[in-house]
């Protein structure tokens, strides 16, 4: 049994080992964020996670040792340094609800998964849907498409926003969508119009996923893909809804994990 009350200096760690990036969030007993960081996952993400935890701890103000650690994300099963592993669904829901208690729908678009989570007024997961075994509508899709268009992935969204007429990309498969994009380019299409078409294709796929569980406002968009302004615009336009994007959308899952760690460490 752990002590029932928290010492004021107690700290809690959330680690999110995703397919493309590793995220770490350190919080205090009052749930304030003491440190956070994101790095590319590399091979398997385990080493990157260990280094990043070290880095976050060193960068944070001095305090007690970490009382409890929760790990989430695809690398969670192999990460031995955690007290507990929880699914990304639970962690994203918790993190999003903490940042925005009005949120009832969370759309998380990560490296290899996109998921739509419905949460109730108490922040509990009411229902969820995840993409099937397919990379369409994920960060990986955007990376592949950025490669095809010859632009850095971070600039892809802004490029799409410059379009005056999005081209149609009918396929929802990453591999086929890439060849569609390439044939558009071969016919001399403007790069921004191809980019805009790709963003619309992703947005419509994610909204299709959202329709399975139903969308109720407020809607929060999390995950690395939320950094892409072109996609946010495409989602808002096609879905006819306003999206809330947190300041640091990539760490919402790790924040949720840290909040669970705080809850569990308190018991």
């Amino acid at each position: 049994m752990r002590t029932a009350s928290l010492s004021p200096g107690a700290r809690f760690l959330g680690v999110d080992i995703g397919s493309l990036t590793v995220k770490v969030v350190l919080i205090g007993s009052d749930a304030s964020i003491l440190g956070r960081a994101v790095v590319p996952a590399g091979y398997g993400g385990q080493e990157a996670a260990a280094r990043l935890v070290q880095q976050v701890l060193e960068g944070a103000p001095p305090g007690d040792r970490v009382a409890y650690t929760v790990v989430t994300g695809y690398g969670r099963v192999r990460y031995a340094a955690a007290d507990e592993e929880l699914s990304e669904i639970s962690c994203h829901a918790r993190g999003a609800y903490h940042l925005c208690p009005a949120a009832r729908t969370v759309i998380d678009m990560g490296g290899q998964d996109s998921k739509v989570i419905r949460i109730d007024a108490a922040g509990r997961v009411h229902d969820f849907a995840m993409n099937d075994k397919c990379a369409a509508g994920t960060g990986r899709f955007l990376e592949v498409m950025a490669g095809a268009l010859g632009v850095p992935v971070a600039e892809l969204g802004d490029l799409a926003l410059q379009s005056r007429g999005a081209l149609s990309i009918s396929s929802t498969c990453t591999v086929f969508a890439e060849s569609e994009a390439i044939s558009h380019m071969a016919r001399g299409a403007r790069r921004e119009d191809v980019a805009a078409g790709l963003h619309q294709a992703i947005a419509s796929r994610v909204l299709g996923l959202a329709a399975r569980v139903g969308v109720e406002p407020a809607v929060m968009l999390t995950g690395g893909v939320a950094l892409n302004a072109g996609l946010v615009a495409a989602l808002e336009k096609l879905g006819a809804c306003r999206l809330t994007v947190p300041l640091d959308p990539q760490v919402v899952g790790a924040l949720g994990a840290a909040l669970f760690a705080r809850q569990k460490g308190r018991r």
Binding site: Y74, I89, R124, V125, M130
Partner: protein, 402 residues
């Protein structure tokens, strides 16, 4: 081999012997009796009463799937031009015909006649047409119109007329005669066995449940392939006795039953233990399923052909989504479950199409959560371990919060 984490049944050795005897006798002990291949929803009682030996490619291919031979045989069929989108039972069966050397038991023995009933799906028609071509054997297709609402008189007489055609057709093809007295006896045996199967399933309303769905999946084989025989009846008497004993002594299928779930769709044969173990890790037991309930419907015994026609025309896969969601919600309240899991089975279109609509309807009716898992019954290439694990974990965590 992954071990099961639920209690083994004492009758499992008897089941294994029974199934071995069934396959061996169809191959070696026919003594001149013709051999028919049937779909799982075909009225076997008629053939049984005529002394025709029957085999079920669906049962055989499920067995190939459980041995993880499904994908290899599917690939054989794909190399012959069959699409990967085709049902994996069909592909596995065709693969076993094309390459018998590779197939478990070297495939099924060559049929003399084929009977396909489309009450379970439309694929069986094209599948059996292909088999008929490959072996140059005759095929009878029994057409049971899809029931958008109740079964109508015209629908029933349409099916009865075809049953009469079927009897004449089998008599012509095999030179055997249908004795109505023998048919009555076969139907009586089949009904008696069906009642036992229903009782076994109903015992799972107990807490803890004496069986987990994988037990039902494994033990359903005789109710399908040996329906209307004394051997099946004997087996289910023994199984019922064992399950009753478990209930009397409060013995559950899994060590600690914390959650009770309903299963929808055909089993994931190639990951039977591994997949259901994930749920056992969370103390979750599948106490009821829609799949094995497909064989718990009795035939009215008055007008024999009419009774058989009615039972086979009204199987749940031949009925509307409304009927199916009502059935599911009904089972959920009867068995006191906390949620449900639907296998979105790439192979089985009639079972999987509309699952999201059923899910929404059932969630609204019961207020209980449902999870959809994407996989395939027989083709292990459509099974992605990690995404499936993540979904199960998230679902069980959200159940825990309730």
């Amino acid at each position: 081999m992954v071990e099961r984490r639920y209690k083994k049944l004492n009758t499992s050795a008897e089941l294994q012997r029974l199934m071995q005897w069934y396959y061996a006798s169809a191959r070696y002990l026919r003594v001149g009796r013709p051999l028919a291949w049937l779909t799982s929803g075909a009225p076997v009682e008629v053939l049984r009463a005529m002394g025709v030996t029957v085999l079920y490619p669906e049962n055989y291919t499920a067995l190939c799937g459980a041995r993880r031979e499904g994908a290899a045989l599917c690939q054989v069929a794909e190399a012959h031009g069959y699409s990967q989108d085709l049902c994996s039972y069909a592909r596995t069966d065709l693969g076993s015909i094309f390459d018998g050397e590779r197939a478990p038991m070297h495939g099924l023995p060559r049929p003399d006649l084929l009977i396909a009933c489309n009450n379970i799906c439309g694929t069986v028609i094209k599948w059996y047409e292909a088999v008929a071509r490959l072996y140059s054997v005759p095929l009878f297709v029994l057409d049971t119109p899809f029931l958008h609402d109740q079964v109508s008189e015209s629908c029933l007489s349409f099916v009865v007329a075809q049953m009469e055609d079927m009897v004449r057709w089998v008599e012509r093809v095999t030179g055997r005669h249908l004795d109505m007295q023998r048919l009555r006896e076969t139907v009586r045996l089949a009904n008696e066995t069906t009642v036992l199967w229903g009782e076994i399933r109903a015992l799972c309303k107990a807490r803890p449940s004496p069986l987990n769905a994988p037990d039902l999946f494994i033990n359903m084989a005789p109710i399908v392939v040996l329906r209307g025989t004394r051997s099946a009846l004997r087996f289910y008497r023994h199984l019922l006795a064992e399950v009753e004993q478990r209930v009397r002594h409060g013995v559950g299928a899994i060590a600690v039953e914390k959650r009770r779930l309903l299963w929808d769709n055909i089993a994931i044969w190639h990951h039977l233990y591994r997949f259901y173990n994930y749920f056992v890790d969370y103390g979750a037991c599948f106490v009821v399923d829609t799949y094995t309930g497909g064989w718990s419907q009795c035939m009215p015994e008055g007008d024999l052909l009419r009774g058989i026609a009615e039972a086979y025309a009204t199987v749940f896969l031949n009925q509307s989504l409304k009927h199916r969601s009502e059935m599911m919600a009904g089972l959920m309240s009867e068995y006191g479950v906390d949620g449900f899991v639907m296998h979105c089975n790439r192979s089985c279109k009639p079972y999987s199409l509309g699952q999201y609509a059923i899910r929404r309807e059932v969630m609204q009716r019961t207020g209980l959560p449902g999870l959809v898992i994407e996989a395939d019954m027989c083709d292990e290439r459509s099974y992605a371990e990690e995404p499936i694990r993540t979904r199960i974990q998230a679902f069980m965590e959200s159940l825990g919060e309730r």
